[in-house]
């Protein structure tokens, strides 16, 4: 009997052959005593393995075994921080948005304050209702354009910081979509 046929007998027993090839090997086993003996031997080994796997039991106490694992987890805990912390891009965005947003809010309030009061008020130095508003960033915008952006009827609304951040989701450690590739069936 060829070595290839021996391997196919094994594959047949393991259910790894295509139906046509499986039928050929089944016939071979029926007709060839050597093939039959080999298949019997392989089956005996398989049964022996399932009956005879020696159970291994840990000698360490439950608490001692766990304490060693816990210590290692604690030592390597910083590795997990990227899951909990906002992403790098989000971090940079927040760093700039807070001061820029605050300054924008101050300018916005000052301009709206002017427009809400019909009585002439002493204007802030360098800013008149008809002149473009200066921003700390050096950009200039007409005051009217800024007023149009305000959704509040009185123009003196609460500045919605949530609205500006709402479209930008931070990394959520509980959201499976933000987690790395699955290792459900660890792929080597």
């Amino acid at each position: 009997m060829k070595h290839e046929d021996k391997l196919r007998i094994q594959a047949w027993m393991d259910g790894e052959l295509a139906p046509k090839e499986a039928a050929r090997i089944a016939t071979l086993i029926e007709q060839n005593p050597e093939a039959l003996a080999l298949s019997e031997e392989l089956r005996v080994v398989e049964n022996a393995l399932h009956l005879g796997e020696k159970p291994a039991i840990l000698d360490d106490s439950r608490d001692f075994y766990w304490s060693q694992i816990e210590r290692q987890i604690d030592a390597e805990e910083p590795l997990l921080e990227p899951y909990a912390a906002p992403g790098i891009a989000s971090g940079n965005l927040l760093r700039w948005m807070v001061p820029v947003g605050s300054l924008g809010a101050i300018v916005f309030l000052m301009i709206n304050f002017e427009s809400m009061n019909p009585q002439p008020q002493p204007s802030a130095p360098g800013i008149t209702p008809d002149s473009p508003a200066s921003t700390p960033t050096g950009l200039t915008e007409p005051a009217g354009a800024m007023e149009e952006q305000s959704a509040e009827p009185g123009g003196m609304g609460v500045i919605n910081f949530q609205g500006s951040q709402g479209s930008r989701h931070l990394t959520d450690p509980e959201d499976p979509n933000t987690l790395p590739e699955s290792i459900e069936n660890p792929d080597r």
Binding site: Q10, A48, P55, I57, R62, Y65, Q68
Partner: protein
């Protein structure tokens, strides 16, 4: 209000879900429940108690770190066993690089000792007590090289297909078939010789 988890009586899935939210006590309970199984798999592959202990603990650490990636498609123990097997394979590969090839492997490469093994026609497990059979299997497994032992474990105990074993062991399906065949035939020969010794 969320119901408090009764950890000792909770099923594995509830414990895993709680641990995935960051709770450590449910994970500790999972470790207690399945530590012997994970250790046993590590030991069956490494054949060394100390190394098996270290690697089984490392597997639990990795399990905790990757727990959020577990999607509940398989059982938790299957997932943990895979982590443990992967760690053992990495460990054995590293160790093997430092060692010279085993006699078994040289025999396999030089034409296959299994080709010269006669097919025995009596059952080596017949009339053998279970404890004795376990001891014989244990002795036989210890005599196999790690490659042959591993394909046998992955196929017989972890029920992996040839394709999955070839992926795990970084080798071709042909090599998997050949190693599996060699391992089984060698084990059969060892069991028979052990039985003959016993009958003397």
């Amino acid at each position: 209000m969320a119901k408090k988890l009764d950890i000792p009586n909770a099923d594995d899935e509830s414990l895993v879900r709680a641990a995935q939210r960051g709770a450590m006590p449910p994970y500790e309970e999972l470790v207690h429940r399945h530590r012997d199984k994970i250790y046993a798999r590590a030991f069956s592959m490494l054949r060394n108690e100390e190394e098996a202990l270290d690697l089984s603990q490392e597997a639990w650490v990795k399990g905790w770190q990757r727990l959020k990636q577990f999607k509940h498609n398989a059982s938790f123990t299957t997932w943990m066993t895979r982590i443990c097997i992967n760690l053992c394979l990495d460990f054995l590969r590293k160790r093997k690089r430092k060692q010279t090839d085993s006699l078994d492997q040289m025999e396999e490469e030089s034409g296959g000792v299994e080709r010269r093994m006669p097919v025995e026609e009596f059952n080596p497990t017949e009339n053998v007590e279970r404890e004795e059979l376990r001891a014989q299997i244990d002795e036989g497994m210890a005599k196999l090289s790690y490659e042959h032992r591993t394909v046998l474990i992955l196929h017989e105990f972890e029920r992996l297909e040839y394709k999955e074993i070839s992926k795990a062991m970084h080798c071709s399906i042909g090599t998997v078939m050949s190693r599996l065949f060699y391992a089984r035939r060698k084990l059969a020969t060892l069991l028979i010789s052990l039985k003959k010794e016993r009958q003397k």
